[in-house]
């Protein structure tokens, strides 16, 4: 169920928390977490619940096998690791990419093939990557295989991170899994983080969605510079606030039950280069690709001298793009960033650092925003008219403008949203918290007000699905 649904916040979560903390033995908490996570998943996507159970059992079993083999039968362990990785990838490809692959092949061969794409299981990209990370870590010995199936399930499918990450490695939550406990301060911090994420999503991202949904549904040949930029700026802010809002909620929920989930964002729009951007944007995905693809590629191709790193970056980002969705715009979006990163890795990055800071910020933000055009507009042939509108191809204001669409009242949203993309509030909150207990109380009241306002907004107009839920 979506974290922003009333069912989650006012039925599932309270019942879960009461059961989680009422239990006399802390080891039982993992059991409640698994049960809760299965209900959480089943409520949203009952059709694929058996698949999720299968994924748990499969990876648990293979983890044990790999763990038991690696000491004395290294080749067998490697073989089993590959079987597990490929099986996990097969699931992902079958559900997510089969239609795309078949369609692309058909287009290439000029054939008409009717293929019915299966419904995408919720969170498949996220839990598959967690599962692959687990079996590979067990194979490498950086983690020992989880013998306790409940504990393993708890790691793989814990509901805060199940649908949209952060993509978590076993090592990052192992201690908490071994001893789930009640930490009062973390409960408070968790509630704050959860509310902050909720407000980001409901009050800002969903409001920005009104702008972007409108602008990106228009005929780009008829929009002027004003509307094109209004739409693009709004989308740039929306996607960050939507995804980081979810991550805040997930991390907050983790804290509520004593888990410290990894951070996923670090104010990516104040990056000084694209390399820096990818260190700050969807950090757990970038880390996953670095650990399980880029570094192995570097090792595997260590004898190649010519453009090795650059081509490896390209491969990684081609797959990063593909991870986001089975369509060409995501592939091109990934390649686009791969190329920029490869250029930065070839010396341009060092040159960039010597330029004025303002230029670095502008350079990075402009390229990121250009990337969002590819990301947001799925039909490649529509990129040209939109890019043309951005540079004034249809004039400063065309027939269809902010004013003619009656969108003037949306202007405060991007303005407000910008404030949440820089560490301003984060620092203010930290300072107020440090001042005195009164400061903390003021912050708590502010968060409660945000909570009331967010719930009021949900009651008034509902909520949108998270953008990354489709991946």
């Amino acid at each position: 169920m979506p974290l922003t649904s009333l069912t989650f916040m006012f039925v599932f979560l309270p019942i879960f928390l009461l059961l989680f903390y009422v239990l006399p033995f802390s080891n039982w908490r993992n059991g409640i977490l698994v049960l809760g996570s299965l209900i959480f998943f089943g409520w949203a996507d009952l059709t694929h619940l058996p698949l999720l159970v299968l994924v748990i059992l499969f990876n648990y079993g293979f983890g044990l096998i790999i763990g038991s083999l690696k000491g004395y039968k290294h080749t067998a362990a490697r073989f089993m690791m590959w079987v597990a990785v490929l099986a996990n990838l097969f699931g992902l490809i079958f559900y997510k990419y089969a239609g795309f692959i078949v369609q692309s092949l058909a287009d290439f061969a000029n054939l008409t093939i009717e293929f019915e794409q299966r419904g995408l299981p919720l969170g498949i990209s996220f839990f598959t990557f967690s599962a692959i990370a687990y079996v590979v870590d067990v194979y490498h010995g950086s983690e020992s295989a989880q013998k306790n199936p409940i504990r393993f399930s708890s790691y793989l499918i814990m509901f805060p991170k199940l649908l949209q990450g952060p993509i978590t490695r076993l090592g990052q939550v192992k201690n908490e899994l071994n001893n789930p406990k009640f930490v009062p301060n973390e409960m408070i911090a968790g509630a704050r983080r959860f509310i902050g994420g909720l407000a980001k999503k409901i009050l800002l991202a969903d409001s920005l969605a009104l702008i972007t949904d409108k602008v990106f549904s228009l005929d780009f040949n008829q929009i002027g510079v004003d509307l094109a930029w209004f739409g693009l700026i709004s989308y740039t802010l929306q996607i960050y606030l939507d995804f980081s809002g979810y991550t805040d909620m997930a991390i907050g929920l983790g804290k509520m039950i004593g888990f410290k989930l990894p951070e996923n964002f670090n104010f990516p729009y104040i990056s000084r280069s694209i390399t820096d951007f990818w260190r700050r944007w969807h950090m757990t995905l970038t880390a996953w690709f670095r650990t399980y693809l880029f570094i192995p590629l570097e090792f595997a191709r260590k004898r190649e001298k010519l453009l090795r790193q650059q081509t490896n970056i390209l491969i990684v980002f081609l797959l990063t793009g593909l991870w986001h969705g089975a369509s060409w715009n995501f592939v091109i979006w990934g390649v686009y960033f791969g190329l920029i990163l490869a250029i930065e890795a070839s010396g341009f990055g060092r040159f960039l650092k010597k330029l004025p800071v303002v230029f670095q910020y502008t350079y990075s933000l402009a390229l990121v925003m250009l990337g969002w055009v590819f990301f947001r507009i799925p039909v490649v042939s529509n990129w040209k008219p939109f890019l043309s509108a951005l540079v004034g191809g249809n004039g400063l204001t065309a027939d269809v403008s902010i004013r003619s669409l009656g969108m003037i009242y949306y202007i405060p949203y991007p303005l407000m949203a910008v404030l949440f993309c820089v560490p301003l509030f984060f620092r203010i909150e930290k300072k107020i918290d440090q001042v005195s207990p009164v400061g903390r109380l003021v912050m708590d009241l502010l968060y409660l007000a945000l909570f009331v306002l967010s719930i009021s907004s949900i009651l008034a107009k509902g909520f949108n699905a998270f953008i990354y839920a489709q991946f």
Partner: protein, 419 residues
């Protein structure tokens, strides 16, 4: 933050204690709230039976019948929202917050009116917070739609030459030249649709129009919080329609004159525009009714049974809701069923077919008093929006047919009237 946990943990208990959620209404949205869905026990039992019979796939599909496509979950979420404690307060809080933002953004623009909410209602509020009204329609009604309506009238006249056909078109503010926001909507209607319609009416059709010259006049004849005309507008309309009918009906009984007016003292009317936007402008409208004497009459359904189509009697005996956003217009003047008829004890020997929208509600009784039978039809409420005049005339004897209402009732039918 403890308050956060107390709040979220107490709500499940609230819903359990509250218990009965059936037939609750939301006044602010004017609808019955959705009850919590019941668990599909039969599906569960059948599903388990299949499982025991070694048909796991069938069992799973039956067991999860309502859950697999997410129907149960959606219904549960809607019910949870509908029965959320202090729900209407929350909704109004969200709207007030939005309104604050709108005021901030529009302040430098110095416009005559600002949007009343951030949804796509198209409703604006004058800057002094006195009147809610629709902004001009972005694009005037298309000529082909009006031509189509004209064609329907032409066919009706040709098919039923013995019947007098009248149209009384009320030009609503979103189509009117008097809309103060016309300047911001270059493609808006600004009276063009009605003008085109009037220029092209077929021979044999008598047209009357209710238009206003400026925004001040609009405020005299329409509610400031509701999209309908007020009693003064309605009576002006009645007067003009009476004059129009009298031309072909010389023996028509004298026009009804109100003996006076009565304003309900204990509530302010916050009508549809206020309700859609949850904008309670202060003061709201006065809800005034005319004091009139009419000959004895009855309201009957198709089978000839007496029916109630309004709560007028309750209002007169002081039984009415004073809750904000109550739709007093509909409650008092009546709602629009598919069909009903007035039977008056008078000396008239003519019958009227009145095809109208809710604007007609406030004068239907007055018009009906001049006829023996008046058949009231709202074409929008007919099965599949289809109404055959010929079929109707086979069943009922009619001398005059009057179409009355806003542009979508009179000059641009988006439903089908077959001659």
């Amino acid at each position: 933050m403890i308050l956060f946990y107390i709040t979220i943990c107490s709500l499940p208990f609230y819903w359990i204690i509250e218990g009965d959620f059936k037939n609750k209404r939301s006044l602010i949205e004017y609808r019955t709230l959705e009850p919590f869905p019941t668990l599909p026990e039969e599906d569960f039992k059948m599903g388990i039976r299949y499982l025991f019979q070694a048909h796991p796939v069938e069992g799973w599909k039956t067991f999860g019948g309502e859950f697999l496509p997410g129907r149960y979950q959606s219904a549960f979420e809607i019910a949870l929202s509908d029965h959320f404690p202090l729900r209407s307060t929350g909704i109004r809080l969200a709207n007030d917050f939005n309104r604050l933002k709108i005021k901030l953004v529009y302040a430098p623009l110095n416009r005559i009116a600002n949007p009343a909410d951030m949804r796509k209602t198209g409703i604006y509020v004058s800057t002094e917070d006195s009147t809610l009204f629709y902004a001009p329609r972005q694009v005037a009604i298309k000529r082909e739609f009006i031509d189509n309506t004209l064609e329907i009238y032409r066919a009706i006249i040709n098919t039923h030459p013995q019947i007098n056909i009248y149209v009384y078109s009320i030009e609503l503010i979103e189509h009117s030249l008097a809309n103060p926001l016309n300047i911001n909507y270059p493609n808006g209607d600004a009276g063009r649709s009605l003008a085109y319609f009037a220029e092209n009416i077929p021979e044999g059709l008598t047209l009357g129009t209710f238009t206003v010259n400026d925004f001040d006049e609009y405020q005299d004849y329409f509610y400031r919080t509701d999209h309908h005309w007020n009693i003064y507008g309605a009576l002006k309309g009645y007067k003009e329609i009476y004059r129009m009918l009298a031309k072909n009906y010389p023996e028509i009984s004298p026009r009804i004159e109100p003996k006076g007016f009565y304003t309900f003292p204990d509530f302010e009317f916050h009508g549809s525009l206020a309700r859609f936007t949850l904008y309670k402008i202060q003061p709201g409208d006065s809800f005034t009714i005319p004091i009139i004497d009419l000959p004895a009459h009855r309201v009957l359904d198709e089978e000839g049974n007496r029916i109630d189509i309004h709560k007028r009697a309750e209002y007169h005996s002081g039984e009415y809701s004073v809750t904000p956003f109550t739709d007093h217009y509909v409650e008092y003047f009546g709602w629009n069923p598919q069909f009903y008829m007035y039977e008056f004890e008078n000396n008239a020997d003519r019958n009227l077919l009145l095809i109208g929208d809710s604007h007609a509600s406030s004068i239907r009784r007055l018009l009906a008093s001049h006829y023996q039978h008046t058949y009231a039809v709202d074409v929008r409420n007919q099965p599949e929006g289809y109404f055959s005049l010929s079929d109707f005339l086979l069943k009922y004897e009619v001398d005059d047919v009057l179409f009355i209402g806003g542009p979508y009732q009179t000059i641009n039918h988006d439903y089908v009237i077959a001659p």
